[in-house]
Structures are given as structure tokens and as C-alpha cells.
């Protein structure tokens, strides 16, 4: 009983995610899988970002740079070097992690708005660079030959495979996110969020701790990039480094509740369903972006703690269940 109580937060989180993941497998419908793929991708990206944004308070506006760079490195290995998806994903994750480590050493010194601006600059610089980088195809990008999917049992199988790999990655992110939150390391991060200078006085090695949080939050997006563009069949600079996508991740984290494990899941689910609804709704489809903007504004102004944060504040009983 006490173990259940202790891990209640994790159990609830995993339970919510399991329901989401199992839905396409139960129905066996391809469209459910595609819809869930979009949602899970957002869940995994938002949860990764949350490790930095939610726990340390550092706003990475250009987080998509890891998704794009990882995607490019992995795609290159698959299309030009004929490597398998697995090795490519590993390489994508590693390259994103290395980039985050190097960047972290430099730009995590910047506080607040300055850090946010620097991450935007890095994403734009990276996109412009890839646009000029011939081995990666420059502006034309790269394409995968359709026969590649045969190694994974044909295109239909490859799409299901991508889905299950994504599901596995999402679980990994959440477990990492939970472990970080409940660890001493995570405590250090939260201390930095509250007051970085005080945290240092209390013995938190802020530069190191921040850098590792940054690296942790970058690896999975790098792997997801490879997976997404593998499924997509082609990669180009503009879709790989879309700044808007970065901002969407932040919105999802905010919606669900930053600094919580469950929040990004709910936020990503809510955001993507909302978008799917607005895009196909006859009334809103022309102004879907504006409607989403109004909703975001309402959330930011009136519910800054997000769904989970708000529930935790209002209903103390739920605190243990909603991590």
C-alpha cells in the first residue's frame, strides 16, 4: 500500500500514457495510429523540453534545433550510408546530446530573456548552415528510397514499427522525467528555478546541473527527429528547423503545467486535439490560428500553472497522484 502511495504519481502518469498508446493497437485502425503518432510525438517533445523548462525555468525557444539536427544526422546515415534505423537513431540522439552539452557550457550562463533569444539565434544559425551544407543536400534536402521500408517488412509495417518505437521513447522520457523530478539532481534544478543564486550558495553546482538537464532534454528530441523523418521519407531544412514548432512545444508544456511529469502529456494531448478540431471545423478553420491564440492568452493570463498545476493548487488531495 505504501509503495503504491509512494509511486502513485508515476503510476497515474504511466496509466494515462498506456491508455493513449494502447488505443490504436486495440482498434487496429491506421488513422488512430496516425492521430496518436502526432499526439505522442508532441508528448515526448514537450516532456523532454519540460526537463529544462519546467524544472530549471530556462526557456529554450529554439528547442526544435535538436529535433532537426538529430533528424538530419540520422537521415544522412540512413539515406547516404545505408545504415539501419536503430544506429541512425542512436547517432541522432548522440549528436543532439553533444550539441546540447557544448551549447550548455556557453549559453546557459545567460539568464531569462537573453537565454531565450540565444536559443532562437542558434536554431536560425543551424538552419541557415544546413541550407548551405552540401553533404546534407543543402536546400533540396534528402529523400529515402521507398525500398528502404522493405527491410522493416514493407511500408505498412514500417509505419506501425515507427509508432511502437515512438511509444517506447515516450515511456523513456516520462520515466527519466519522473526520476529527475524525484531525485536530488531534480531538487537542485527546482532550486535553480526558484532562485539560482541562492541555490549556488546552498551548494548546488548550478552550471553543471543545468548543462546536464539541457543534455537530457535534447537527446530524445534528436532521436525523435530521425524517427519522424524516416517515416516522412524526406527531409528539408525548413520543416526540420521550424521555429514555430518550438513555440508549440512550450505552449503544450504551459497548457498542461510546467514542472510536472503529467502536465506535458495532458498539454500535448489537449493542444493537438484542439488543433485537429479547429482545422477540420467548418466554423473555425479559417481563423483556427487566431482562436488558438486567444486560448493561449487566456491560459497564460489566468491559469499560468497549467491544468495539473492548477489542480494541485486547488485540490490538495490530488497532489500525490498528479506529479
Amino acid at each position: 500500500m505504501s509503495t503504491v502511495r509512494k509511486y502513485l504519481g508515476l503510476i497515474v502518469t504511466i496509466g494515462v500514457l498506456l491508455m493513449l498508446v494502447a488505443w490504436p493497437a486495440i482498434t487496429g485502425k491506421d488513422i488512430t495510429r496516425e492521430t496518436t503518432f502526432t499526439i505522442l510525438l508532441s508528448v515526448a517533445l514537450a516532456s523532454s523540453l519540460n526537463i529544462l523548462l519546467g524544472y530549471t525555468g530556462y526557456v529554450s525557444f529554439g528547442h526544435v534545433v535538436f529535433f532537426g539536427l538529430g533528424g538530419y544526422v540520422g537521415f544522412y546515415l540512413m539515406s547516404a550510408q545505408g545504415m539501419s534505423l536503430w544506429i541512425s537513431m542512436l547517432a541522432g540522439g548522440v549528436s543532439a546530446g553533444v550539441l546540447a552539452f557544448l551549447l550548455g557550457k556557453a549559453i546557459l550562463r545567460l539568464r531569462g530573456g537573453y537565454f531565450a533569444l540565444a536559443t532562437i539565434g542558434i536554431n536560425e544559425a543551424m538552419r541557415a548552415f544546413i541550407n548551405n551544407f552540401e553533404p546534407f543536400g543543402g536546400p533540396t534536402g534528402m529523400t529515402l528510397n521507398f525500398s528502404v521500408y522493405r527491410d522493416y517488412g514493407g511500408a505498412g509495417q514500417a509505419l506501425w514499427l515507427s509508432y511502437y518505437v515512438l511509444a517506447a521513447l515516450t515511456f523513456i522520457v516520462l520515466i527519466v522525467s519522473y526520476l529527475v523530478r524525484t531525485s536530488k539532481f531534480g531538487l537542485g534544478l527546482l532550486a535553480i528555478r526558484e532562485d539560482e543564486d541562492a541555490a549556488e550558495v546552498m551548494g548546488v553546482n548550478a552550471p553543471n546541473v543545468k548543462t546536464w538537464a539541457y543534455v537530457l532534454s535534447a537527446i530524445i528530441p534528436g532521436m525523435l527527429g530521425v524517427l519522424f523523418f524516416f517515416k516522412n521519407g524526406s527531409i528539408e531544412p525548413a520543416p526540420a528547423f521550424r521555429l514555430h514548432f518550438s513555440i508549440e512545444m512550450i505552449v503544450m508544456v504551459m497548457l498542461g503545467g510546467q514542472g510536472t511529469v503529467l502536465g506535458p502529456i495532458l498539454g500535448a494531448y489537449g493542444y493537438q486535439s484542439l488543433r485537429g478540431f479547429l482545422l477540420t471545423s467548418p466554423i473555425f478553420k479559417d481563423i483556427q490560428l487566431a482562436v488558438a491564440g486567444v486560448l493561449l492568452l487566456v491560459i497564460v493570463l489566468f491559469v499560468p500553472a497549467g491544468v495539473v498545476g492548477w489542480l494541485r493548487q486547488r485540490v490538495p488531495v490530488l497532489r500525490r497522484a498528479l506529479q
Binding site: G113, G121, E124, A128, N132, M254, L296, L297
Partner: protein, 289 residues
């Protein structure tokens, strides 16, 4: 490639003239940052609205674009005050993320409504002041006038900030809001006015750009990113630095292509941007704290 002297002179002058206008756009961003520590992510769409306002006033009423610019400025000011009270005021003391997202939601609203109303098709203000040829250099009338107006606007802003009571209040609030409030400065109104001035500058920059470049509702994004770079070059919060930063960026954009493919320009621009953030976050010209 052999680099000729003519090419460098022509590129340099082209870049400088544009730099003045970039400077005005960045000044709007940097003013808001300096006074209230808010990065206005609706900056780009407001520039685009400036372009569209000028276009419609010119097209529907046939007003001279430079007269229309005056109206654009007033609309920009009012819009900014409105945005401040709707989206920014409530979260002005919240963490950065809140103001970033609040202004970003305004960005989404403007782009969303704008696309529905104007579609993404390009517009063009059909207006020309001819051109002037001096040896290898061809100067366009509209760009010369834009540069002159940019200087005038900067001068006007400077006078306003240093010679008028609201201007002095703005500087006081920028320096120390709590102290200013204690001294009886109505800080909410002053913050709203500052935000309005920032969006007014963005709208003016948009209007000026519209006299020589075509645009769509999405066109502001490019200038927003340029404004970030310039703002950091000149020191965030430093209006005069923004003008100088604009000139530097304009010059770089003119000169770099003479030596290497133009597509490398953004790579260098953004690397420089990150570098300055790291090495001299107060900007090249060392602004006030």
C-alpha cells in the same frame, strides 16, 4: 572571384540605406525591452500590419505614402496601448515565459486573422520616386527618403524621451519602476505608452519597408528576427544603439555577399548574434544597466 571596388561601394551604400529602416524596427523592440523587460514576440506581425495599413490607406484613399505613414504611426501607437492592457499588463511582473507567451499569442491572433482577411498573397505599394545614378551606384528615391525619415524619427524619439514630461517618466520607469511609482509616476499608463511607442516604431518601419519591398501578412517574421539581432548588437534597451546596430547589420548584409554566397549571410548574422549575447550582453555600445 575578383572583387571590384565598384561592387563594394554599391553594396555598402545599399546596405546602409536599408540599415536605417532596420534600425527603426529594432528600436521598437528594444524600447519595450528597456522599459519593461518584455520581449515582444508580436513584433513581426505588427510590422506586417504597418505594411498593410500603409497599403490600404494608399490604395483606397490615394494618400501620399508619407502622409499615410503618419496615420500608420497613430494606429500603431493605439494598437500597442491596447495590446498592453489586454495581454501584457496582467503578467508584467510574472516570469519571462508569461510575457513571451502572452505576446506570442497576440502574434498568433494577428497572423490568424490577417491570413483569413488578406490571404498569403503578396501586395505591392505601387509608388516610386525614381532613382539617382552616381557612377556605379544607383540610389532609389524611396530608400533615400526612408533613411532620412528614419533619422528624423530617431531624433523625435530622443527629444520626446529627454525633453517632455511623459518621456522623462518613461526613463524613470525604465530605471527603477518601484522608485518611480513612489515618486507618483502613473506606472501603468507609462508602461502602456512605452509599449505603444514600441509598436508605433514597428508600424512605421513596416510602412517604410512597404514603400520599396513587396510583402505578405507573414513578411514581418524576417524583420522581427533582424530586430533581435540588431537589438543585441546595439544593446537591448538602447534606442540609439538600435539605430547604429541597424546600420551595422545593413552594412554586413551589403558587404558579406560580395565575398561569399549570400545564403551564408544568415549563418554569420546569427552566429554573431549568439556571440555578442555571450561576450557583450550589454551590446557593442555598452548601454545603461
Amino acid at each position: 572571384m575578383q572583387i571590384s571596388f565598384d561592387l563594394i561601394i554599391a553594396s555598402l551604400i545599399d546596405g546602409l540605406l536599408l540599415g536605417f529602416v532596420y534600425g527603426i524596427a529594432a528600436m521598437g523592440l528594444t524600447l519595450i525591452w528597456g522599459v519593461m523587460n518584455v520581449i515582444n514576440l508580436a513584433h513581426g506581425p505588427i510590422i506586417a500590419l504597418g505594411m498593410f495599413s500603409l497599403y490600404f490607406i494608399f490604395d483606397l484613399f490615394g494618400l501620399n505614402p508619407y502622409v499615410a505613414l503618419l496615420l500608420v504611426a497613430i494606429l500603431g501607437l493605439l494598437l500597442g496601448v491596447l495590446i498592453y492592457f489586454v495581454a501584457v499588463h496582467r503578467v508584467i511582473d510574472a516570469p519571462h515565459l508569461s510575457t513571451l507567451l502572452a505576446t506570442f499569442s497576440i502574434n498568433m491572433i494577428i497572423i490568424g486573422l490577417g491570413t483569413a482577411a488578406f490571404s498569403a498573397s503578396p501586395r505591392n505599394v505601387d509608388f516610386s520616386l525614381g532613382s539617382l545614378s552616381l557612377g556605379p551606384v544607383t540610389l532609389l528615391g524611396t530608400r533615400l527618403v526612408a533613411a532620412v525619415l528614419a533619422v528624423a524619427v530617431t531624433g523625435g524619439l530622443y527629444l520626446f524621451l529627454y525633453r517632455t514630461r511623459p518621456g522623462r517618466y518613461i526613463r524613470a520607469v525604465a530605471n527603477n519602476r518601484d522608485a518611480a511609482e513612489l515618486m507618483g509616476v502613473p506606472s501603468a499608463q507609462i508602461l502602456a505608452l512605452s509599449f505603444g511607442l514600441g509598436t508605433m516604431l514597428a508600424a512605421i518601419a513596416g510602412g517604410l519597408i512597404a514603400t520599396f519591398f513587396p510583402f505578405t501578412i507573414l513578411a514581418g517574421g524576417v524583420y522581427e528576427l533582424k530586430s533581435f539581432v540588431i537589438g543585441v548588437l546595439g544593446g537591448l534597451g538602447n534606442p540609439v544603439g538600435a539605430l547604429l546596430g541597424g546600420l551595422i547589420l545593413g552594412m554586413l548584409e551589403g558587404i558579406i555577399p560580395a565575398f561569399m554566397p549570400t545564403t551564408w549571410v544568415p549563418v554569420l548574422e546569427f552566429l554573431l548574434f549568439v556571440l555578442i549575447l555571450l561576450v557583450r550582453p550589454q551590446g557593442l555600445f555598452g548601454a545603461r544597466k
